[in-house]
Amino acid sequence: MALLQISEPGLAPAPHQRKLAVGIDLGTTNSLVATVRSGGAETLADSEGNHLLPSVVAYKDNDQLLIGELARLGASDDPLNTLTSIKRLMGRSQQDLNLAHLPYEFGEADSGMVKIRTRRGEVSPVEVSAELLKALVARGEQSLGGELLGAVITVPAYFDDAQRQATKDAAKLAGINVLRLLNEPTAAAVAYGLDQGSQGTVAVYDLGGGTFDVSILKLTRGVFEVLSTGGDSALGGDDFDAAIGDWIVAQSALATTLTPQQKCQLAMISRDAKEALSEQDVVTIEFAGWSGQLDRQQLNVLIDPLIEKTLKAGKRALRDAKLNAVDIDHVVLVGGSTRTPRVVEKVAGLFASKPLATLDPDRIVAIGAAIQADMLAGNKPDEDILLLDVIPLSLGIETMGGLSEKLINRNTTLPVAMAQEFTTYKDGQTAMVIHVVQGERELVEDCRSLARFELQGIPPMVAGAARIKVTFQVDADGLLSVSAREESTGVESSIEVKPSYGLSDGEIASMLEQSYQSASVDRDARALREQQVAADSLLQALAAALLADGEVLLSEQEQKTLLAKMEQLQRVRDTAGVSEITASIDVLGRDSEDFAARRMDASINKALAGKRLDELDSESK
């Protein structure tokens, strides 16, 4: 028996009115934007016909900004102001990074996110990524001929909370409505899943320019369940290049301190050599007056230790999924670095199966993201795909002695929440600090510190009497939020966890302000317009919901009350300013939550009505 189709509340577009949404693969080396048009998903080209946008931003004289290929071409002439592989710096502080290979000058080292000194002043990786995102969205709007409803942006599955938050901040700064942060391997599986209608267990091996992921997924009638994920968010083709570069320096017996120009040149030469060796057996290299040959065998010696690291992560992912290599039905290769023959050979060996390679490894992630964006925009009410991602790294809190106590284990399906009770250890204690970390190791210092947040206003009591319940919620995007409540008195304080190296809302606001000034856009008018649109869509959604289910699910009085509140918002929307509209939207949103919950219950009941367990059971066979 097929599932009954229930249209989503507020998500029933008029026929033929297609909502524009794109999928964005924000890569270390290259980025892409894709969309679903006339049934098929495709990547979008710029006016020159190029699909790949090199992930390079150059800050030139006279406030000129170059993005993509133009920026990349000038990289070795102006390395300090041409920013490449910026994804590797997202959500990272200076202490986290090995900066030796990077030709940039950095701002003062502190615990915050790394800043790069350019002729435009200090810029953060979030700002640089926002420039790339803006260029991709502009390309999308130009080729689709309209404003976008939103975008699905992909991130490595192994990205931690700080890296995900930084990506979302970049989107916010670029003015993009993020429909979902989607894990790259999941996106790849979606692209293959739809093309081939495949069922079974899939291993996705994704080796990009600067990040590596491996995920094991189970596909069952449109549900993509991630069973396990592993990887290294700082390992990729760039490291292959660096290994080649080190070899060249050693061979040529050059001085070890290279100028920024030379570093940049060396990286390019190394990359060209690596790419050439995918096609041929030997390549001639010239660098700074030195000339020599690199053959494939030597290349393999250089990169095998790096590939070995990826294979170990693959084995661990299998083990976490409680599977053996023979249980894997398909292997999918993603990322430009899987063009290296040695990688393919080794991966095929690990999973004892020939990898699928019918889709372009550079484009597959963007294609999958576009399919998901199209679904989330509500363009495909008949298709039933659901992507269930997991949290890639365990989440814990610091306890006595600098140990991490795990609250949520890695590979738990999202969304997930966990509550923990704390108490005071001194008489009259009114505040406490909770330190949230992410990682598998036992010592806090070996894990990644996500945030310290202070819980204030605990009523003074004797030590051990307070009961403070802290709830850690990780949403479908893998982003953490924390709320706390003192249970014995019911004082609630809700705290959004701000990673110490993330951007505060104030910082985002001031960056937005700057960008509006330089673009001379009337920011107030734009903000007002945005809030009016938000009010309109809430009112429309509620009106549709009332029409559909109001009579059945609400009493006459409840309907009247809700209608009156809607009229109130309508009045505010038509007459008041930004902050009042925002506040009213919030109020109506909360007031209609109970109605939303009743509708959710009803829609589940409808979907499952008449569907007995033996039927569910027989479908699974």
Binding site: V223, T413, V416, R590, N605
Partner: protein, 179 residues
């Protein structure tokens, strides 16, 4: 039409009988049906309040699924439905034989790394542990079915011992195989 209330117990939510025996396929299948309806992705274009509700519901369904899937937390949960709460200090009671066996298994685990063929030894230990766990789950099931909750409490505590040991074995396995 029977209403699905989200504050009902996990077994009712999954339309399963309240029992230690759970059909894994049935559980998984029902999970997919439920999560399909409430996952926040189904509400990407909906109002904020609907999205908040969806996150809460999906979180609860994930929690229910995890609880019913795991042999230990399922046992804990069954007892909690009978009003029996097991605190972490709860012991396995007076059972020196069980404790001695545990100590011997722990010793084997400690000596593993020095062993000439650690992988073979690991397989042996893993095999033995799996059997013990199976046996222990059966023991719980038995006591629970007979409404002997005091005995069931002791069996859960033993089960916990074994699963903790299994976790530690996996940790050592990771070190030996160098993942």
């Amino acid at each position: 039409m029977s209403a699905i209330e989200f504050n009902q117990d996990f077994f009712s939510l999954f339309q399963l009988p309240e029992s230690y025996d759970v059909d894994g396929d049935q559980l998984h299948c029902r999970y997919r049906e439920l999560i399909r309806e409430v996952h926040p992705d189904r509400f990407a274009a909906a109002t904020d309040s609907e999205r908040r509700v969806a996150v809460q519901y999906a979180t609860r369904i994930n929690e229910a699924f995890e609880t019913l899937k795991s042999p230990v937390s399922r046992a804990h949960y069954l007892l909690s439905l009978k009003g029996i709460v097991i605190n972490p200090q709860h012991t396995i009671g007076n059972d020196p034989a069980f404790l001695m066996h545990q100590i011997s298994l722990r010793e084997q685990l400690l000596e593993l790394k020095e062993h000439a063929q650690p992988e073979l030894q690991l397989d042996k230990l893993t095999g033995e542990l799996e059997q013990l766990i199976e046996h222990q789950c059966a023991a719980f099931k038995n006591s629970y079915a007979k409404d002997d909750f005091e005995q069931a409490k002791l069996e859960v505590a033993k089960m916990q011992f074994l699963f903790k040991l299994e976790e530690d074995v996996e940790q050592v396995e990771a070190e030996i195989l160098d993942y």
